[in-house]
Amino acid sequence: MGHLLEVRNLEVKFALRFGDLTAIDNISFTLDKKEKLGLVGESGAGKSVTGFSIINLISKPGYISGGSILFEDRDLSKLSTGEMRKLRGHRISMIFQDPMMTLNPVLTIGTQMTETVLAHMKVSKSDAMDIALEKLKKVYIPSPEKRLFQYPHECSGGMRQRIVIAIALLTNPSLIVADEPTTALDVTIQAGIMDLLQELCTTEDMGLILITHDLAVVSQVTDKIAVMYAGRIIETGPTEEIVNNPRHPYTKGLINSLPGGLQAGSRLAQIPGMMPTLTDIPDGCAFNPRCTINGPICLEKLPELRVLDGKNHSAACHMLENDQRDK
């Protein structure tokens, strides 16, 4: 049938005192089972807001103002609070950035795991414990039986992120949204967590949305990439295509700024200038103040995403070479 997840023309606004601020502007993407999508972009591009809007947990003044989110052929933006709650942590799990802050300091790991199972499945407490134990083993936690009775502060950062991943797996979800799951961790631990996520997508039959500003990580893990800039997707396509044949000047900048090709753990170097804040996005193309190839049209007209060739590769730029311009 359809895709596992299909986001269509999503628009998210923040209701602020001086009016509504558009944080996500008309973005669309799809994800199939076992597929891994990377959402890349600078800080403030709207990656987290996109991720949270899927489970309808955008922080306070934010709300979905348009578009639809089809998940397993249901429109999530039309679900009631109760129906949404049943999906969260059940069919769709999230992994947060900082494992030091994600787990509740005063509850044991066992409690934090079983409560999730009990919230979604009709099983006994001891069955829930068994499930928790099984998932802890799946993420390669040493002495998992002991961990169940420990508190978060008794585990290291890498361990805690594995526990968070185990929590995400508890109910065998079909989609995991991981918001910068390795940013807060040591470089040496990052690779392990990424390998684990990748492996689990295959063994557990899950789709993965990997949110990060680290293009190097994304290029090694994901099947396709969507590059975000100021609340829009400005280029999207298969990972190989984006990495080897970037078309948008912003994406090119991102790729070129990676030192010595792609290496795990390397960070984005600076593209001159800064991404505009939502309150002062320039007219026309939001990237134009930093762009090196812009022309007069870029100051006036917002470029739409255009399909570039037969490889599902599209970019939103007026200045692509002429031969690409007529489809």
């Binding site: 922080s59 999730t116 508190y151 502060h153």
Partner: protein, 324 residues
Amino acid sequence: MFAFIVRRIIQSIVVMLVISFIGFSVQHNIGDPVRDMVGERVSVEEREAIRDKLGLNDPFWTQYIRFVGNAAKGDLGTSYFHSKPTLQVILSKAPATLELVLVSSIIIILLTFPIGIYSALFPRSLFSKIVMGFSTIGVAVPVFLTAIVLIYIFGVELNWLPAYGRGETVNIWGWETGLLTWDGLRHLILPSLSLSSIMLPLYIRLIRSEMMEVLETEYIKFAWAKGLNKNRVWLVHAFKNTLLPVVTVFGVEIGILFAFTLLTETVFQWQGMGFMFLEAVERSDTALLVAYLMVVGGMFVLINTVIDVIYGFINPMVRIAGAK
């Protein structure tokens, strides 16, 4: 746990030594034990003889050590006015004060937790706005004013509740309690409401702000993302973390409650330690004053130890530290 207890005992001893030093210094400088014993009509020579006999001309430190030694044996001197051991006088007054503080604390806990949590969860509701308004004013209203207004409304105008004394009490193993009779309970209402009123606004604000802070944390967001229901997120995840700082502050607050019993007991003619203390000040009953200081200090140390133990039970990180 054992190390924790040993550490607490040592800390308590140090605190008690400091209190006793202050108490003794006061007594040494302004008290006159000879007058306390024999009254005013004894000649100067005779007094000197008695002073020598009692060791009152010994060096300060010798006397202080003797004072501490006696105190450790439960001898805190003799009250000049009551002509009885001070400890006995105080212990006869203690139940009244302890019951007043206890009931006030219960009122504080029962009111502030639900109200504080509700106004953190629904800050925009009318109820929360009213509560916040009242608590802003409430912080500034002095206790005696609250007490007088309460007495005027419920004691005088409506004549619903008794406005002074403890009413009927029952003696249980030497403890005069007003908690077991209907009359005693009715007498407790106005004084304990007045006493708790000093803490209510502060506590509601504290709980509210702590809870609001906790609600913003990542682990609460993660709890939502796990699909837990409201009650689970609010009452288990958020509430337990709110409790930690609140419990710590409660130790200090109880000390303040004790201090305010002086005022409350006077206004309500409540025959407790606070009332006794002010009488002792009027009568220059120094020995009794110092004994009061020691006893209240001791209670304070004890209560704070209990609170630390409770804190250790809620906070897993403390438990680990104590186990080392």
